[in-house]
């Protein structure tokens, strides 16, 4: 078949602007933002209480704003890992089926645009909304930190903080793509929301347990393993399984970026530690190299999910 004429980008900008404006004005977004803000402030506040009493020397005091936890509240990083998916799903679960249910789909597609433009515009609008929300939150926290801690962050801390922001947005993109895929597959918005939320719970709560369970099924406990601990293969298998969840990838990237002293995310042999100065922070570039596989896997996941949504959408009949 001959190539179709015209650009897939025609109308993409219009869809983007409309969806972006809708997101920013919607009550749904406001609720989600307050949720993130309040839990975030709670986590940060306790972290600051702890930091104020710390007397030890830490070159990365500012980053500990994000990572320190104080019972019963989790760290800010953990809060984000849990809540970003919720925000992304909230933005995307009715992206496509909502147009069908409002009966606006055939009217929109009768305009001179390709379906690509609609899907891309909606996806980018969702990403932009997440980016705006996270950047605002990030700046607020830095401001809050400056006020309460009274010390400015170093340039490396700012760089690491910025890398963290980028990864957090990519992580949001992953869940947005999941939600949009569900919104293409399921005609009812409620079903789409339930399925995406189900996946989120599976990935964030059940999967860590499941991956451990599966590993122990593959490597049954032997008297030998009780003595010397798990074998190298067992650790690798368990880690690989765990990394199928985007939450693991996100948590590992956060670990590498916000804890500069992290040297490896997998098992390390004794001989590899020879000559290493334990507890000494890695330079930023080395930390980036460390988390690079995790970040690229996340982005690859976004692309795969988006392509799946695209293919399903292209094959759908316009008639509801």
């Amino acid at each position: 078949m001959a190539r179709r004429s015209g650009s897939i980008w025609t109308g993409c900008g219009t869809v983007f602007l409309k969806e972006f404006a809708d997101h920013l004005r919607s009550g749904r977004m406001r609720v989600l933002e307050w949720l993130v803000l309040l839990t975030g402030i709670g986590a940060i506040y306790t972290a600051i209480q702890d930091l104020k009493t710390t007397t030890s020397q830490d070159p990365f005091l500012f980053l500990r704003l994000f990572t320190d936890s104080h019972d019963p509240l989790p760290s800010f990083m953990a809060v984000l890992g849990f809540l970003i998916p919720l925000v992304a799903i909230g933005l995307g679960f009715d992206a496509i089926n909502g147009e069908f249910n409002r009966r606006t789909m055939s009217r929109i597609l009768a305009q001179p645009i390709y379906r690509d433009a609609l899907l891309l515009g909606k996806f980018f609008a969702g990403i932009a909304t997440i980016a705006v929300a996270l950047t605002t939150l990030w700046l607020l926290i830095i401001g809050f930190g400056l006020l309460t801690l009274g010390i400015p962050p170093t340039s490396e801390e700012v760089m690491r903080g910025f890398a963290f922001l980028v990864v957090a947005i990519a992580y949001g993109g992953f869940w947005l793509a999941v939600a949009i895929l569900c919104s293409v597959i399921f005609r009812a918005a409620a079903t789409s929301a339930l399925v995406s939320l189900g996946l989120w719970l599976l990935m964030s709560i059940l999967w860590p347990l499941l991956s451990r369970f599966l590993t122990s099924a593959i490597f049954p406990t032997t008297p030998m393993s009780l003595l010397v601990g798990p074998s190298y293969q067992e650790i690798i298998v368990q880690q690989t399984l765990a990394r199928l969840s985007p939450n693991t990838l996100f948590a590992e990237s956060m670990m590498g970026l916000l804890h500069p002293s992290t040297r490896a995310l997998g098992p390390v042999f004794m001989d590899q530690l020879q000559g290493a100065v334990m507890g000494n922070p890695l330079p930023l570039a080395q930390s980036l190299i460390l988390v690079w596989p995790q970040v690229t896997s996340l982005i690859a996941g976004v692309i795969v999910l988006f392509v799946a949504a695209y293919i399903v959408f292209q094959r759908q009949e316009v008639r509801a």
């Binding site: 078949m1 001959a2 179709r4 004429s5 015209g6 025609t10 109308g11 219009t14 869809v15 409309k18 409002r102 009966r103 606006t104 055939s106 009217r107 929109i108 597609l109 009768a110 305009q111 001179p112 645009i113 390709y114 009949e317 316009v318 008639r319 509801a320």
Partner: protein
């Protein structure tokens, strides 16, 4: 460059959904400046045909040209020249009528400088200008339909495709809506209208195609159709009493067909005006004649006769 006279040309259009044939070989030619009606029961393939003309559904076989473009290969060019009012039209309820139109207007690529003027113009024509700033969520069914028509007008397309434009409207709203559709004729565009409301189609359409099981069963002006189906005869309606009236009527010279339409009413098809002869025959037999009318063929009769014959044959 001269505009092509035939703005929509479809040849041998077929659409299969799995093994189900939705549209089975349709040939269609629609000229600029005419209102073309697509008639037929639900599921006869009207909407599927429309979607194929728009390039929203891929045709399984056949070729289409709309305003000189192929909907499969150049869908954007086709959609630029076609305004479409879907059978179930919806808007963003949380946005005002004007903002809704502005969104589709931008998608349609209408230049920014002209957009607001065109929207005002279109809203004025469908008499929604006063409520342009109101949220569409507060609009009635009829107002949404009119807003949909305003969108088609705003686009200033060469072809307007209206799918069941008056379904679900009350009689007054239907009448007004048909007036607006007739107003489109002055724009020198082609209007393609699908409906199963026969009287409405007859009221506005220049030519009609009768859809039946994915095929065009009949095509032409209402007069031509009645010629074909009713045999080009002279239609009479009689209300009379008498013994064995149908037989008696059928024996009158010139009568081609007699149908009993309930009570003492009969419809006749005759070769020429035989009102005089009929009257005489009835009086001669001692019957009583209550009414004897010559009726203009309505699409309704054509339609019913056609599908009666069809079912009779089946």
């Amino acid at each position: 460059m001269s505009e092509p006279e035939n703005i929509i040309v479809a040849k041998g259009l077929r659409k299969l959904y799995g093994r189900h044939v939705a549209v089975d070989g349709i040939d269609l030619t629609i000229r600029r400046g005419e209102i073309f009606g697509m008639l037929g029961p639900n599921g006869a393939g009207k909407t599927t045909t429309i979607l194929m003309l728009l390039g929203l559904t891929e045709a399984s076989e056949g070729s289409v040209s709309v305003a000189g473009f192929d909907p499969m290969r150049q869908p954007l060019d086709v959609k630029r020249h076609v305004g479409y009012l879907p059978d179930s039209v919806g808007f963003y309820d949380n946005l005002s009528a004007r903002v809704n139109l502005r969104y589709t207007g931008r998608l349609a690529g209408i230049p920014h400088s002209q957009l607001d003027d065109r929207i005002d113009d279109a809203l004025l024509r469908v008499r929604l200008l006063e409520v342009a700033g109101r949220k569409v969520g507060t609009f009635s069914h009829g107002m949404r339909r009119r807003l949909g028509l305003a969108e088609v007008m705003m686009k200033r397309a060469d072809v307007a495709i209206l799918d069941e434009p008056t379904s679900g409207l009350d009689p007054q709203a239907t009448f007004e809506f048909l007036e607006m559709i007739r107003g489109l004729r002055s724009d020198n565009i082609a209007v393609l209208l699908s409906s199963h409301m026969l009287d409405q189609v007859q009221a506005v359409c220049d030519r009609v195609a009768l859809f039946k099981s994915g095929k065009i069963a009949l095509e032409g002006t209402v007069d031509e159709l009645s010629q074909k189906v009713l045999g080009g005869g002279y239609n009479l309606e009689i209300e009379a009493t008498g013994d064995d009236l149908p037989k008696l009527l059928a024996q009158v010279p010139g009568v081609q067909r007699v149908t009993h339409s309930g009570g003492g009413k009969y419809s006749l098809v005759a070769a020429h005006d035989i009102r005089n002869e009929l009257g005489k025959a009835i009086f001669a037999s001692g019957g009583m004649l209550m009414r004897l009318d010559h009726v203009e063929p309505s699409l309704d009769t054509v339609y019913r006769h056609y599908f009666e014959d069809y079912h009779g044959a089946a």
